[in-house]
Structure formats: C-alpha cells, structure tokens
Amino acid sequence: MRSRRRRILVSLLLVEVLVVATAVFIIWAMRAPPNTQAFLLRVMVVSLLIFLAILFLRYFTLLWFAYLGHTERSVMGEKRARMLSPISIIVPAFNEAEVLRDALRSLSRLDYPELEVIVVDDGSTDDTLLVAAEWEGRQGTVEFKALTKSNGGKAAALNAGIRASKHPFVFCMDADSMLESETLRKAMQQFDDPTVGAVAGNVKVENRGHLITKLQALEYIEGLNLPRRAQGFIAAVNIVPGPVGLFRREALEEVGGYDTDTFAEDADLTLKLVGSGWKVVYEDRAIAWTEAPEDWIDLVQQRYRWTRGILQSLKKRKGLFLYPLPDFPLWLSILEMGFEAVVWPILNVYAHLFFALSALLFGAGELLLYWWILLTLLDLVAAFVTVSMEQESLSLVPYAFAYRFFFILFLDVVKTFAALEELFNLGMGWEKVRRVATS
C-alpha cells in the first residue's frame, strides 16, 4: 500500500514538473531578446515542417496500404475457405455473469460446422461459473464447456483454456464481446495459406449512445483498424486484438502460448508469432462487437494500461531495435508498434503544445490555424475512406471534427504520461500481488 502511494506521488510529481517546466519556458520566451525570439520562431517553423512531413507520410502510407488491401479482394475475387476445420473458442471470464450470457448466445448462433466453446472462469466471485455451467452441453454444432481455476489473470486463463481445448484452431475472445455469425468462416479463409499463424479480426464499438463512445467507435475504425488493415496487406499485423483472434494451434504451441509478464498479452503473443516466422493477417469481415468505456476516467485507465502493456512488450525485445536483420518482419512490427503506440502520441502532444505556445508568444496564430485545418481535413478524409471501407454509417464521419478538436489530443496526453511512467519504470502496483484477493 505504501509503495502504491509512493508511485502515485511520483506520478503526480511528474505532472507538476512538466507544468512548471512549461510555465518557466513561457516566461523565459516572453522576456527573451528579439534575436532569441526570432530563433525560436525559426525552430517552430522547422518543427512544423518536420511534423507535417511525418504526418503526411504516416497517413498516406496507411491509407495507401489499406486501400491496396481492400481492393486486393475485389480484384482477386472472393476467397472461400477450402476447409472449415473445427475450432475451439476460449472465453476467459472474471466476474462476467452479467454479460457472459449475451456472449455465449452469440456463440450459439455462429454459422460454423463444428465448434467447442470453453469458458474459463478465472476465480470469479459472482455467478460467472454458474452461468457458464448453465450452458454446458451441446447446442447444435457447438459444444459448451466450463472450466474454473483460481484467479491468475487473463493470460493464464487463456493458457488454461488452450490446454484444455482439442481442436486444431483456437479462437480467443473476451467475455464481453459478441461475434457476428459469419466471423469464424471469414477468419478461417485466411488459413488456406499454411504460413499464416494467426488472423486478427475487426473490433467494433457496440455502445454508441454517448459522444465518448461515438468517438471511440470512430477511433476504432480510423485509428486502430486502419493501421491493422495496412499491416494486413503486408501480412505483418502486430496486434491480434483480445476480442477477436483466431490462431493455428501449431503456432500457439510453438511459441508457448501467452506470456504473463506484460499488461498487453495480445501484443506480446503477436510479436512472438511474428518472431517465429508466422504470418499474421487481418480479416475485416471477422467482426466482434465490444463495449467501450463510457466514463472519461475509465477511458484514461484503459489507454494507460494499453500503452504501458505495449511498452512492456517492446522492452522485452529492446535488443532488436537496432537490428533489422535477420528477422526483418519482427523488426518492422516492433518499430511500427513503438511508433503508433508511443512516438506518434508524444509527437502529437509536443506539436500541439509547441504550436499553441508559439501562437500565444510570437503571434504565429495563422500558421497554427492552417496547420490545424489541414490536420482536420486529413482526419475527415481518413474517416470518410475508412468508414466507407468498413461499410459503416457515414453519420460517424462528422465526428472527425471532435476527434481532431480534442479527443485524440486528450488520449495522447494520457499515453504520454503512461509512456513516461514506463520509461521511469514506475510500478503499476502488481509486482507483489500474486493473485487478486477475491475471497
């Protein structure tokens, strides 16, 4: 408890240091001689140009690759899975009694010849195990099973489910996600290529009743699925998302399943697969609907953990950063993951803060305004293209204004703090916790 308080105090101290440093910079810049101010202005213009170059390169690379991936199917024609091998579905669940029924109901409606569903109760204190047990037995083509174990975390629960499963393909999902009936058939098509080890599906936000969830719905499409679609074109997806991932058992066994030493077990497993030479591809029609946080603090909490988890996965492979060979796909995945999860958000915060201060201090407001309008237009175009690709409602596109206006910057500030905390190796409060005290 004391160490937790100390960590939190250090985090707050970090915030204070950054705020004070910004204030000192403002005061210094305002009192600086004209020559220094002119120099700062030049620095600002050069920074702006560099930032714009990176930004354009990022957007157009992602959009171009995503477009190529999207059109590839229409040019090559619709693929049909040569075989529909039996699949084991693993559903880890901790205190999920309220949502588990819906998830299992969606699984019972899947259009697939032979399925085994294993619900792994991770030491829940509610009725999760009872709900899972209610569903035990065969329903049509689906055989439901329930396992229970002492609480040990999601990765350990998934590993337990994988070990207890029997089919040659394993589908991992979250207990609060729901699949579309065609999801498994579409994902399975990708395994006609024997070098494919995993298929990342398409996660969509189900609850869209509030501004915060509408923005997340757009973010999932534009900010998360766009890079994944682009990565899929070169068969180098670097995160198979937790709610929807189909794996070849052989690949999972080769890499030893999920590691339990990071907070982003899905990213970590994907990097292990890529590092073992397996292709990881994306299937946009393999859809899972998930519930997004409806509260700003919960959202902060989620993104904080995601960022730190990804950084932990990257830190495990820090020795590879400087060596593109012999494993170029892994190196590329690591670099891309680091850029999207950490470098780009920090750069975005820095740029916004720097340009806003420059506008205030040096009167470079017009430059800032045109830069901001350009960014917003780019986001609008990206939103329009990606929403169209996903055949989603175009009513989401106008939210790109709010997305640029504050949402992305808000999230990037949180990611920046999470990255700083991971950089300074501040604990997340779990080193001494062996199990969740649920009883």
Partner: protein, 69 residues
C-alpha cells in the same frame, strides 16, 4: 476581431484546455487508484485481468471442470 483571429483563439484555447483536462483526468485516475486500490481491477472490463501471475505449481493442477466443482 476578424474571423481568422476568432478561429485562432478557439483553436489555441481548445488545445490548451484539452491538455489541461487530460492532465486533470489523469490525476483523478491516479487519485482514484490511491483511494480505492481495488477499483481498477473490479470496475473496468479491460482491467480485471491485469494482474500478473507467476504460478508456483503447474497450471493444469488448478484447473477443474465446472461440473466437478
């Protein structure tokens, strides 16, 4: 104040306010953690599993079939 100046003011104020709000929300999250250490594990769907686990015994031993439980 012309339209351009007005837009500049809106953009600058929005950027600064967003950053300040993000910092405040982050601090609120940290304070919530300090007051209710278990909340992050129990209230948010994404977080309930984020507890590293280093088993002392083989995992298979802890898994039991629900029907037998």
């Amino acid at each position: 104040m012309n339209v351009v100046d007005l837009l500049i003011t809106i953009v600058v104020v929005t950027i600064l306010v967003t950053i300040v709000l993000a910092v405040i929300t982050y601090v609120a999250y940290k304070l919530r953690l300090s007051r209710h250490p278990g909340d992050d594990l129990l209230t948010n769907g994404d977080l309930r599993f984020f507890v590293p686990y280093r088993p002392t015994a083989p995992e298979e031993g802890s898994v039991t079939h629900a029907a037998q439980a």
